[in-house]
Symmetry: C2
């Protein structure tokens, strides 16, 4: 059989989504090297021989953005031969939803949040990767309250509803949303109130200790009798 070169460069690229300033934003870094030097890109880097893909994604994210200790989920592997203009690079994309406050510190001119609704020109196929992560996020949201990954530790139900509306791209009925939100397992009503509004203060809620035992915990559904 035809004998062709069999080794490839493999990278991991990471889509980090958050809600900031009332919009859904993605963490981008400005590329320091060719190709696409100066263009914005999602954080990414080469996979080392000794590490698995999850480890590579976490290491790369830490190196490039100083973001650590977050739950990354494998998204999809992109392997078009032309996705990299110079060599053949296959990339395994990961994504995560996080609270902006957890990594606010690290914003610099070369590392910053961008609204997903108004992205700058991106390197490689990173636009496609971000779009795919949005799709996946919506699917998750329909199944479980992933919003706790996006909200501050203490939040109002209105903030939670806004998060859902931003991700789903449509507005929701306030009463129905609250009714359902209050049924969410792990949601805890606090005896504290938001003071930011100059009107009636809203009650704060939090999620009790988040359980992320399994990598695919998102998929676990309630047992039907």
């Amino acid at each position: 059989m035809f004998n062709e070169i069999k080794t490839h460069e493999i990278t991991v690229d990471i889509v980090i989504l958050t809600i900031k300033n009332n919009s859904l934003q993605v963490l981008l870094i400005k590329r320091q090297n060719e190709p696409f030097k100066g263009k914005w890109a999602i954080p990414g880097g080469y996979v080392r021989m000794s590490e698995n893909l999850d480890e590579a994604a976490m290491r790369v994210l830490k190196e490039k953005t100083n973001v650590d200790n977050i739950y990354l989920e494998q998204l999809y592997t992109f392997g078009d031969p032309l996705r990299h203009p110079i060599s053949r690079v296959i990339t395994c994309a990961y994504f995560a939803l996080i609270r902006a406050e957890d990594i606010e510190i690290i914003s610099t001119p070369d590392i910053d949040w961008h609204k997903v609704s108004n992205l700058p020109p991106l390197a490689f196929d990173h636009k496609e990767i971000i779009n795919y992560s949005l799709k996946r996020t919506r699917e998750r949201l329909e199944m479980c309250p992933v919003a706790y990954q996006l909200l501050n530790e203490k939040f109002t139900l209105t903030e939670m509803q806004k998060a859902y509306e931003l991700i789903m791209g449509k507005s929701l009925d306030k009463r129905n949303f609250r009714k359902k939100a209050l049924q969410t397992e792990g949601l805890v009503e606090l005896d504290e109130f938001s003071k930011t509004s100059s009107k009636r203060p809203a009650r704060l809620y939090k999620f009790e200790t988040i359980k992320l035992n399994s990598k695919r915990a998102h998929f676990i559904k309630k047992e039907k009798k």
Copy 2:
């Protein structure tokens, strides 16, 4: 920064599931080469420089099993450094549900179906890959009638129900199943009846022209007003 070798061997591995003899089965081939020579494995092979991952998966499947023209979906990429005993090989797994009748011809001593409930010892991490494909298949089934990929062109509702029961691993109520099945978009009632049973013949159904426009068609849900 620490400079490590950056290229990896990349393979694609393909899980082909079908229903045969009243059980869910997976297509395995007996390995001709080390490592794991003589052990059963899902079909797989190296990705070439010039092809994307989908193309590689389809080419490899065709080469190894002569199966062609089926819809493969990317499943997950497995990259544990120890998953291959000799070198570091990252594999991008694909899966498909097909009608056994479509490829019945190619069964040989080295290419054969095996019940997923009773698998032989498998090479590499292929057991894990198959388990993951089953999980994904169940998730799909809850969302849409993927059964048309598994059933013969003409089928009875009882056959369709059996397919669901095999995949979901639980029995379903006949009346409720039929009620819902009959609502399935694209299901066509035929004026033909099954003659295999020695008792009352069952009406045959088929699916009208299957639309697989988008790669992720599985995920498309009906628009809510």
